[in-house]
């Protein structure tokens, strides 16, 4: 039988003649040993995956470099956690997969919410008086075909009550996994589930990061928080018994959310998992005594109505999702952004989704194994939340005539690229209250501009980020309304438009600005002291070589630099107290609106003014900017709003608030059998669009993973060679006579 199997193995020829047999017997023995040790599996020896589950189309990917910490939609606030949550939960709204700029569309509800504006007495206001609105009300209608995944929380006992409802912790401790429950059931999604989820955001015991932020907007949320905080509880608290003034459940499928004032960006929050429905019976189920000891909690076993459901959650090694049999169904979009049809992103238009049955995400902490498995075909993509290509960038890419191209061996694999300019920004900001660099006089502006010019961001990105970043001329990244490209998009204080491209101003101009600022050759004209600037950086985020580079960059204008590395907590303390001169920071957008970036410079957001964890760490205060921001925040999209955004960007450039900034860029690699790989910068619920060709994958895996067996023989020979002299010497010694 072994011989039959070996004969089928491509790498092992069948014995043809008797004189070949000794060598082949050795070969067979070596192979047999390896096969036994490799678990006697079929296919390549190095396959790290278990045998596939029937004919299910499985997608193999990674969670890297750390497992998710929270999967409760009220608590989680990280993109690597949203990767799972957004496949399982359906918040009211979602994003169109292909269209750019990003476009909202209904997801858990039937249509986009109807918005009405109310006066202080709660009466509706006509359209021409919306400026006077004291409240805004969003009316949402839950889609009729939305139904939860099968789950034991919905299982009903003979008496009509919940089947799994225990009083004794010992009963609860009998269950270890969600799959241990024999009975499951499901029910339609109701409006009250959405209301229940919002009440959970208000519950201090739930620990939602939204409790403070949303409390400012949703009417009655702070009151409910205080009320819930005062309630003593032992076990589950039924939040349905508490009223939240800003959330009204009108009937089984209709509900309204009322917020204070006007906040047009609130609809974007409705596309986040915080507003996903949570059924009360699920919350009660997970409060069964004894469940927490087995990690049977909503934080680890999400329950939703989305296209997938979680069937295995071992954050130490893997998380497995499977198609939700109760998913309401959807079709692949028929429209996209310009160029999508040519890139094949519309080939599946109109086809029912999801295309895959199962998705397995394995924990990979180190880059070498991840990269190797991807090249061996065991992972379909190089990453989910990160492209994971940075560490192997030099080997993966070459700079060709048309920019970045895949290296030849990867191109031969049929690997495709998915570049992703994230809707975020990294920057080094000036503390505008700093006595040396801060302030709004023309001299200070010139000093900051000189430093801006001296810091060659293009070179910095090429050297230290291998080009994975785009120089930011404004706080608004590509894909977000208000971002301008080309000549009109450059910062005229630091760049010129020459020969169709932005070119940094020459260093001589920076030197001249230093003179005009009162620092000729980098020395204070009054005291003769050299100018020394201090940069606070997070120790993990900067290397010695990049510090040396920055030092050298500023030495060209005679400025000395001192770095003050610290961990994030210490850096955060400095930012909150304004005890910094230049600091590094970053921002990844929650939603695709310029407001979500321009608020980084809004005066009242300064931590020193709000005594809070404000976003305006530069403490930039310009009354004109603040007035424009306040008007822009509530203005509807249109030319007037665009003009406000444009002026705010001009002010930012004029005042030279940040030393430099760049938009982070990532590159994801896809194996040839993966389709519909377009990256979505905001939304993570794109797994349902992904299509796999499993036959091609299997064929390629076999072709790429034929084991190399000669090292086994070489190893055996080496050990023999090492032992043989010893054995001979030993035998000789044993035979020797006494001397």
């Amino acid at each position: 039988m072994l011989r039959t199997f070996l004969n089928k193995w491509d790498a092992v020829p069948a014995p043809d003649s008797p004189d070949q047999r000794p060598a082949q017997t050795l070969h067979a023995l070596a192979l047999a040993a390896c096969l036994l040790l490799a678990g006697c599996g079929k296919g390549p020896w190095n396959n790290p995956h278990p045998p596939p589950d029937g004919d299910k189309v499985t997608y193999y990917s990674v969670m890297s470099p750390a497992p998710p910490k929270h999967l409760d939609p009220a608590i989680s606030y990280a993109s690597d956690e949203a990767l799972f949550l957004m496949q399982i939960y359906e918040p009211p709204l979602g994003y169109h997969f292909l269209k750019r700029p990003y476009e909202l569309e209904p997801l858990g509800v039937e249509r986009m919410p109807a918005v009405s504006y109310l006066d202080a007495t709660g009466k509706p206001l006509p359209a021409e008086r919306v400026d006077e609105a004291a409240f805004t009300r969003y009316h949402l209608t839950v889609r009729a075909d939305a139904r939860y995944q099968p789950h034991p929380a919905f299982a009903v006992a003979e008496n009509g009550g919940a089947r799994y409802h225990f009083d004794d912790p010992a009963e609860g401790r009998r269950y270890r996994q969600i799959t241990d429950f024999a009975h499951t059931d499901a029910r339609p999604v109701r409006a009250e589930d959405y209301a229940y989820a919002i009440k959970r955001l208000a519950d201090p015991r739930a620990g939602s990061p939204m409790i403070g932020f949303m409390g400012r907007y949703i009417v009655g949320m702070e009151t409910l928080s205080a009320e819930l905080d005062a309630v003593s509880r032992d076990g589950w608290l039924d939040l349905r018994e508490f009223d939240l003034a800003g959330v009204d459940v009108l009937d089984e499928r209709n509900y309204t959310i009322t917020i204070n004032g006007r906040y047009p960006q609130f609809v974007y929050w409705l596309a986040m998992h915080f507003f996903s429905p949570v059924p009360a019976e699920v919350d009660r189920f997970y409060h069964n005594p004894g469940f927490a000891e087995s990690n049977l909690t909503l934080d680890w076993w999400p329950v939703g109505s989305g296209p997938f459901m979680m069937v295995r959650n071992d954050p130490n090694s893997e998380i497995v999702l499977e198609r939700n049999p109760n998913y309401h169904g959807d079709v692949y979009p028929s429209e996209g952004a310009p160029g999508d049809r040519e890139r094949g992103f519309l080939e599946d238009a109109g086809r029912p989704i999801p295309f895959i049955d199962r998705a397995e995400f394995r924990l990979e902490k180190a880059v070498l194994p991840l990269w190797t498995k991807f090249l061996q075909g065991y992972y379909d993509r190089s990453g989910e939340v990160h492209g994971n290509t940075n560490s192997v960038f030099d080997r993966a890419f070459v700079v060709g005539p048309e920019g970045l191209e895949l290296a030849d061996d990867l191109a031969d694999h049929g690997i495709t690229l998915s570049p992703d300019v994230k809707p975020g920004i990294y920057y080094y900001g000036f503390n505008m209250r700093d006595p040396v660099l801060g302030g709004y006089t023309e001299e200070r502006r010139k000093l900051r501009r000189a430093l801006q010019i001296a810091f060659d961001v293009e070179e910095y990105l090429n050297i230290f980020y291998k080009g994975n970043g785009i120089v930011a001329h404004s706080p608004i990244p590509p894909g977000i309304p208000g971002h301008k490209g080309g000549a009109e998009g450059i910062n005229p204080y630091t760049h010129d438009w020459v020969d169709g491209e932005a070119r940094r101003k020459p260093i001589e101009e920076a030197r001249q600005l230093m003179v005009e600022a009162g620092y000729p050759n980098g020395r204070d004209a009054r005291t003769g002291e050299p100018l020394k600037i201090f940069i606070d950086v997070q120790s993990q985020a900067i290397s010695t070589t990049s510090m040396n580079w920055i030092d050298r960059a500023f030495s060209r204008i005679g400025v000395q630099v001192e770095f003050r590395p610290a961990d994030w907590n210490r850096t955060r303390e400095k930012l909150l107290t304004g005890n910094t001169q230049i600091f590094s920071h970053g921002w990844l957008a929650d939603y695709p609106d310029p407001e979500n970036f321009l608020f980084l410079l809004y005066g009242p957001e300064s931590p020193l003014l709000c005594n809070c964890d404000g976003a305006n760490n530069a403490s930039y205060e310009r009354p004109e900017y603040d007035e424009l921001f306040e008007a822009m925040r509530v203005a509807p999209p249109g030319p007037a709003r665009a003009a406000m955004v444009k002026r705010m960007v001009e002010l930012y450039r004029e005042d030279a608030v940040w030393l430099f900034a760049y938009y982070p860029k990532d590159v994801y690699l896809n194996n040839a059998w993966v389709h519909n790989t377009k990256r979505h910068g905001i939304s993570k619920n794109t797994l349902k669009y992904l299509r796999i060709n499993p036959a091609l994958r299997e064929q390629k895996r076999r072709a790429w993973n034929q084991p190399v067996t000669w090292p086994l023989y070489a190893g055996a020979a080496l050990i023999t060679a090492l032992l043989l002299p010893a054995v001979i010497a030993y035998r000789r010694r044993q035979r020797a006579t006494a001397r």
Binding site: L36, P48, P209, G212, A366, T372, Y378, L712, P725
Partner: protein, 325 residues
């Protein structure tokens, strides 16, 4: 012996309190409860309310060591240190900062850790002893000198090099085994082969050299000469006479490690994607998860103490002259 063991176990209590206190102080010197809250809540919209809620939910809303606002005994008991430490002595490790039950996680991760470390340990000892005895057999020969050079070379190479080199050659270039990962059941062997091989090879240099020194000391004793004079074969001399007499120092170094095997291996587990206790500890340190760090240090301390007691007991087995009293 029973009284001796009881006495040693009682000695362990102040040691464990000291270790726990030290861990607590070291952790909170660099991390305040507010830092932990920020770390767990993320970098966005971390309002003071959210921080206070997190601290209250996780029991970090009390003073660290002394509660000046409380009366009587509560000045000590109503503190983070007391609340978090006392439970440890009842082996109630509580929940990690991300909400998972630590005891459950420890139980689940112990298996994968043992699956890697135990064969590495046993095979490693066997290989090291055999290699060392072989070298001793050829003492003062060219083979002996060459072996010592090889041992020193092997010792000088970084453990990381063995790991990355092993992964590169065996898994990536030759495609003989998966480069990393872990599956339970029959498939587990293919994931253990490479880490065990790497662990054994990386340990040969130091282990065999140390054992060689121990064996050489015994090899020059009179009883060895007598054994040879009696006509014992060289193998019998090595395994029946030298090895048992060199056991005491070997046991001193080895038995103490046996309980520690449960703690896994930080590097091997991290690089080979094995979901054991070693990577658990490493992840906890990276995530500033004090609950896990504290629990793991406590478990490690207990296992180390158990290892020391076992070492003492093993002396009585290896050398009948030793009496524990």
């Amino acid at each position: 012996m029973f009284a001796y063991i009881i006495r040693r176990l009682l000695y362990a209590i102040p040691i464990l309190i000291g270790v726990n206190l030290l861990t607590f102080v070291l952790f909170f010197v660099v991390n305040s409860p507010d830092d932990m809250a920020v770390s767990q809540l993320g970098a966005k919209y971390v309002t003071p309310e959210a921080i206070e809620n997190w601290k209250a939910k996780n029991g970090y809303d009390k003073p660290l060591f002394y509660n000046a606002g409380a009366d009587g005994l509560e000045t000590v008991t109503e503190t983070i240190f007391f609340a978090k430490s006392v439970r440890l002595f009842a082996f109630d490790f509580g929940r990690s900062e991300s909400g998972r039950d630590i005891s459950t996680d420890v139980r689940r991760r112990m298996g994968p850790s043992l699956a890697v470390v135990l064969p590495t340990f046993l095979v490693g000892i066997g290989v090291n002893i055999c290699v060392a005895l072989m070298v001793v057999m050829f003492h003062a020969s060219r083979l002996d000198r060459a072996a010592v050079i090889v041992f020193v070379a092997l010792m000088s190479i970084s453990y990381l090099f063995y790991i990355i080199g092993g992964q590169y050659l065996v898994a990536k270039t030759w495609r003989l085994v998966p480069i990393s990962g872990f599956l339970s059941g029959a498939e587990v062997w293919k994931f253990l082969l490479l880490p065990v091989l790497v662990g054994v090879v990386a340990g040969i240099g130091a282990g065999a050299r140390w054992y060689r020194t121990l064996f050489l000391e015994e090899a020059n004793q009179d009883y060895v000469r007598t054994a040879r004079a009696k006509g014992c074969s060289e193998l019998a001399v090595l395994f029946r006479h030298i090895l048992p007499n060199a056991l005491i120092p070997i046991l001193t170094g080895v038995v103490v490690l046996v309980p520690m095997l449960f703690m896994g291996s930080l590097l091997i587990e991290s690089f080979f994607g094995i979901p054991g206790l070693g990577s658990y500890m490493l992840d906890a340190i990276n995530a500033q998860d004090f609950a896990i760090v504290r629990s793991m240090v406590f478990i490690g301390s207990i296992l180390y103490i158990v290892g020391l007691i076992l070492t003492d007991i093993s002396y009585t087995w290896a050398d009948p002259r030793v009496r524990l009293s």
